[in-house]
Amino acid sequence: MSTENPENTAESAPSKEWTLEPETEYRFELDPGSSLAIKLVRGHAEIFGAELVEGKTYLFGSECKAAVFTWQGCTLEVTGHPSTEYVSEETPMTAYANLHIAFEQMRVRALRDVRGSPPPTDEPAASQDPPRILVLGPENSGKTTVCKILVNYAVRAGQGWSPLLVNVDPGQGGWAAPGAISAASVFAPIPTYSPASPLGSVATSAPTALASNALVPLVFWYGHAETKKNPLLMDRLIRNLGGHIDDRYLNDQEAKPSGLVVDTPPSFASGPTTDVHRQRLIKACVEAFNINVILVVGHEKLNVEMQRTYGARITVVKIPKSGGVVELEHHYRERIRNNQFYSYMYGHIIKPPAGITNATLGGETLDDFILSPSSTVISFSDLTIYRVGAGAMAPSSALPIGAQRVVSEMQPVIIDPSQPGSGLLNSVLGLLAPPNPDENERYDEELLDLTIQGFIVITNLDISKKRMTVLAPNQVSLVGKTAIVGTYEWQEQ
């Protein structure tokens, strides 16, 4: 139930008080350009597993759609104009909490195993494996939210867990920008404030109050929104990421029991069973991340398929989807992607509703989210640019006479910015980490196996002067670097 605040005035945005019964949630959706402020007045409440602090005002924007859930009941003060708001008594939180407990049991046993303690006599047969969870589901099933809740509950337990969160959905940026395949260790709850940062935020030079607003991910650049664009490259990047995670575990045995959670693209869950690429990519994830639990969010057919394929060695569980998950239109996704590139470069700028002061954005002061990227004019020869694979081919007309098109899906093709139709203007590029300093260790396709240092965007090409303007997140030197262009484009709007 809700009551209008009698103190509403013309200068302030309207504010309402909502009193929630235990195990219900307040859901809201925001229109473009509007923002919402929520204050927990009494009781306990959490947003996708991250607890709110009583008396603190949280700000939401950029078309955020979220829910404030309470286990024990609470009162919220909500200020602003959501396009939709209501309280729901039907939530999947019971199931998600039970999942968390099951995974917590696995972590406890795994830690005992790592430390060499013998298993208690009453459960000699229990697995000593930490939870390594692959979350599958079609579009709009709330996969990312499930991942976030599971990770947030793990870090909140007071046990010092730091699970790895892996994002293999190139259609959404997770903590950075779209087009990437990446993994980050999570130490503290991930806040929710904007769909541009569904899984927290990559570190900036600004100090942050929350560790999850300064994540340190390892990032590979795939460069396309769709997995079917280059499944071979996806496969390779997933396996590369898995390899580095293994190395990390070797380096820190005690990090292993915390386990990992993998967020996947919707394409893994849709399409015919006979789709070899889809099956191949799921297999790549299962193998690369040594998956032992597959969660299928609300999709019976996929559940059956996964049970049949992996049921013998992997626990496959179908889990309910939240009624709060809404169908998202194509344009909404486009806007969110643009917003992710924007916030990667410039941070978040969300104006609080009128009359709201002292609001925090994901637990941080608003100003700390404002970033200054760097725009640089460089010579064409300063930066070496590649495209990967046949899709990268220049139009036939651009080929020299007699040249033949023999490029495999995985071949890096150098792009000459001075050629018309290079397609570089407004393209997003992944700036590669330096190659192996030892020349003898180099190999042809090495650049497919390099992680990236960041994303850059070519904002202007001056072919006559052989110069281009490049927007970079900071004043990183681009000279002598190599970058890979995909199919993402971004223009400031």
Binding site: L52, E54, K56, T94, A95, N98, I101, V108, R109, E123, R156, A157, G158, Q159, F187, A188, V202, S205, A206, P207, A209, A211, A214, V216, H244, R248, N251, T315, Y346, G347, G363, I370, L371, S372, P373, V377, I378, S379, S381, T384, Y386, Q411, V413, I414, A433, P437, D444, E445, T451, I452, Q453, G454, R467, T469, P473, S477, V479, G480, E492, Q493
Partner: protein, 629 residues
């Protein structure tokens, strides 16, 4: 009419976290050794009055007049008022200074304790206000008080060296140095590098030795099984005997510099836990101000607990200190190599302080494992999860800044303490960074990510502190950049040595010094731009903030702006690097003929920063463009 409710002076104290002085708790101001002041309890119960400055000044001065003896209630009451009325910080500072100057010598020390308490517990903005006059005030007072008061003032002075929230000088380096110079008549600076030529007196060393010893003893009292502190104390006792019997000037130098290093790496010890109540159920008072703190009021956590990030725990840095202290002293022949050290604590002893934590973890694990949930679709939807027990009830203490919860036991308190320090440091950093541009960091390299290890196994990870390479690296990078800037110098033009030249940005006079090796006068931390000489640091900051300003303008304009015109006309945030077109970097360019990577690419292994020689490329020109409208 009184401005403040009449709680001051009441026998039963209104704020419960601090037990009253007669309750077995040692009053810090009546103890022989000087101690840090317990942090202030919550002020939530304080009603806020709207007062004008004149009334405030009159009222504060009259309350201050009552501070004739070392009375803890009065000092705390005056501190609360200072905390509540930071907008009148200048008035508070003026009142205290006037009071100390006016009262007779025997009444001055209590007011200094007040100044000390306010500076350490509230720090900002008070330390700033006090630093303006603390040097003459301290030295003038020191001259007129008796010997025992002097020694108390010296103890207080020593605590100021590391009492800022970042573990630095409470009132800044210049006041600290000037006061110490005035008190001990040495040219010693406060860091561990003592200038070689200065004379050190035995009383000075003994004084600092006593102080260090008292800190260590307090540490041992707080943590009786701290083997490192025990070792320290043994060595310090040895040292004291030595110094008392007389050592050479060189040895005094050595001892003093070692002492200062040791002290610098030891967080100030707060009063030992009061012994009366064995296991208090309440959260310790030191956290109360923060935990009960409304987010709007930027009151920092008690600075006494703030330790520099490089020293997360005393025990982590101490062993190497004691080792180096010992070995240096042994080498210098000051202490014997076979100094009797106390036996290492047994495992049993070490384990006992953590007993409650182990019990808690065990109980948590048993509770988790006992929950009969199976990992299948039916079970997870049917069972009622005891999640509230696991995530809320077992973790009763919540950080009021970010919502992270902690257990209510010693271990949890330690984590919470570290966690609050982390928030505090970040808040301070955020405040210091106003006006400077921030930007997205680069992603880490594989090697760094793979080795992103966790500081303490299984401990403290959920407290929000993150063992980051990237952040540490960024901080180190910033410090390095600053050091590089400070190292820049401009040779003073011939004939201008006697002229005072001011930095056009901060208007401060540029410091000139004579450099032996170049045999010339130079301005330090200076850079020449367009025939003007700036502080290198000021100039760099101005360039960055211009860029930040541009970004902010863009951000603000963004909401209303429609698609802007051609890319060329867009304002991009400076500094923009412009590379002359005629400059070629032949060694960097992959072969233009090779359309695919059939051949090995030749790439310069390092990412040399712009401006360095780069494979035969001439130095690149850096141009800082101001934003055009």
């Amino acid at each position: 009419m009184s401005l403040y409710p009449n709680y001051y002076g009441q026998p039963s104290y209104a704020n419960p976290p601090l037990p009253p002085a007669h309750n077995g708790f040692h009053h810090p101001y009546q103890q022989q050794q000087y101690q840090s002041i317990p942090p202030l309890p919550s002020t939530q119960s304080l009603p806020v009055y709207h007062v004008d400055p004149v009334t405030f000044r009159r009222d504060y001065a009259s309350r201050l007049a009552e501070l004739t003896v070392n009375s803890r209630p009065i000092i705390q009451n005056l501190s609360y008022i200072a905390q509540e009325y930071t907008r009148f910080a200048n008035i508070v500072a003026e009142c205290i200074e006037a009071h100390i100057r006016r009262v007779p010598p025997w009444m001055k020390l209590p007011a200094f304790y007040l100044l000390d308490a306010i500076s350490k517990n509230l720090y900002d903005p008070y330390a700033r206000h006090f630093s303006a006059f603390v040097t003459p005030l301290f030295l003038d007072t020191y001259q007129v008080v008796d010997l025992s008061t002097r020694s108390k003032m010296e103890e207080m002075l020593l605590t100021w060296r590391t009492a800022s929230p970042t573990g630095k000088e409470l009132f800044g380096v210049p006041p600290q140095v000037s006061i110490e110079r005035g008190v001990w008549d040495t040219t010693g600076n406060t860091n561990s590098n003592l200038p070689p030529g200065s004379t050190i007196t035995t009383p000075q060393v003994l004084r600092e030795l006593e102080f260090t010893l008292s800190q260590k003893e307090r540490a041992l009292q707080n943590n009786p099984y701290d083997g490192v502190a025990q070792k320290h104390i043994t060595v310090l006792h040895q040292l004291r005997n030595l110094v008392e019997t007389g050592v050479s000037q060189d040895q005094l130098h050595l001892i003093l510099s070692q002492l200062r290093t040791l002290l610098r790496n030891t967080p100030p010890q707060v009063a030992p836990p009061q012994p009366v109540i064995p296991q208090p159920a309440v959260w310790p008072p030191s956290y109360a101000p923060v935990a009960s703190q409304a987010p709007a009021a930027p009151y920092p956590p008690p600075p006494v607990n703030a330790i520099p990030p490089s020293n997360p725990a005393p025990s982590s840095s101490a062993p190497s200190n004691i080792a180096s202290l010992l070995s240096t002293l042994v080498k210098a022949g000051i202490v014997s190599a076979n100094a009797p050290t106390p036996p290492p604590p047994t495992d049993e002893k070490v384990a006992s302080p953590e007993h409650s934590e182990q019990k808690r973890i065990k109980s948590y694990r048993q509770a988790v494992l006992a929950i009969p949930v199976k990992l299948n679709s039916n079970d997870i939807t049917r069972q009622r999860p005891p999640i509230v027990d696991l995530l809320y009830d077992r973790l009763t203490v919540q950080c009021k800044q970010c919502g992270i919860r902690f257990v209510d036991n010693d271990e949890g308190k330690k984590s919470m303490n570290n966690h609050l320090d982390m928030h505090f440091r970040q808040n301070r950093k955020a405040n210091q960074n106003v006006g400077r541009g921030h930007s997205r960091s680069l992603f880490v390299a594989v090697e760094d990510w793979v080795h992103e290890t966790i500081d303490i196994k299984g401990k403290g990870r959920a407290d929000g502190t993150r063992p980051v390479n990237a952040k540490v690296a960024a901080a180190a990078e910033a410090a390095k950049r600053e050091a590089e800037l400070r190292a820049l110098s401009v040779v003073v033009p011939l004939g201008e040595e006697a002229e005072m030249k001011a930095c056009p940005i901060c208007k401060e006079v540029l410091q000139s010094e004579f450099l032996e090796d170049v045999e010339d006068w130079v301005w330090r931390n200076a850079i020449m731009k367009d025939d003007k000489v700036y502080h290198a640091t000021c100039h760099a900051e101005a360039v960055t903030s211009t860029s930040n300003l541009a970004a902010r303008l863009r951000n603000e304009a963004r909401g209303s702006r429609s698609r802007s015109g051609t890319p060329e006309s867009r304002v991009t945030p400076p500094p923009t690097r412009v590379r002359p077109t005629d400059v070629k970097a032949p060694s960097l360019s992959p072969s233009q003929e090779a359309k695919t990577t059939g051949t090995k690419r030749k790439v310069d292994p390092d990412d040399l920063p712009l401006g360095h020689e780069h494979g035969g490329t001439p130095p690149l020109k850096k141009l800082a463009l101001s934003p055009s409208a």
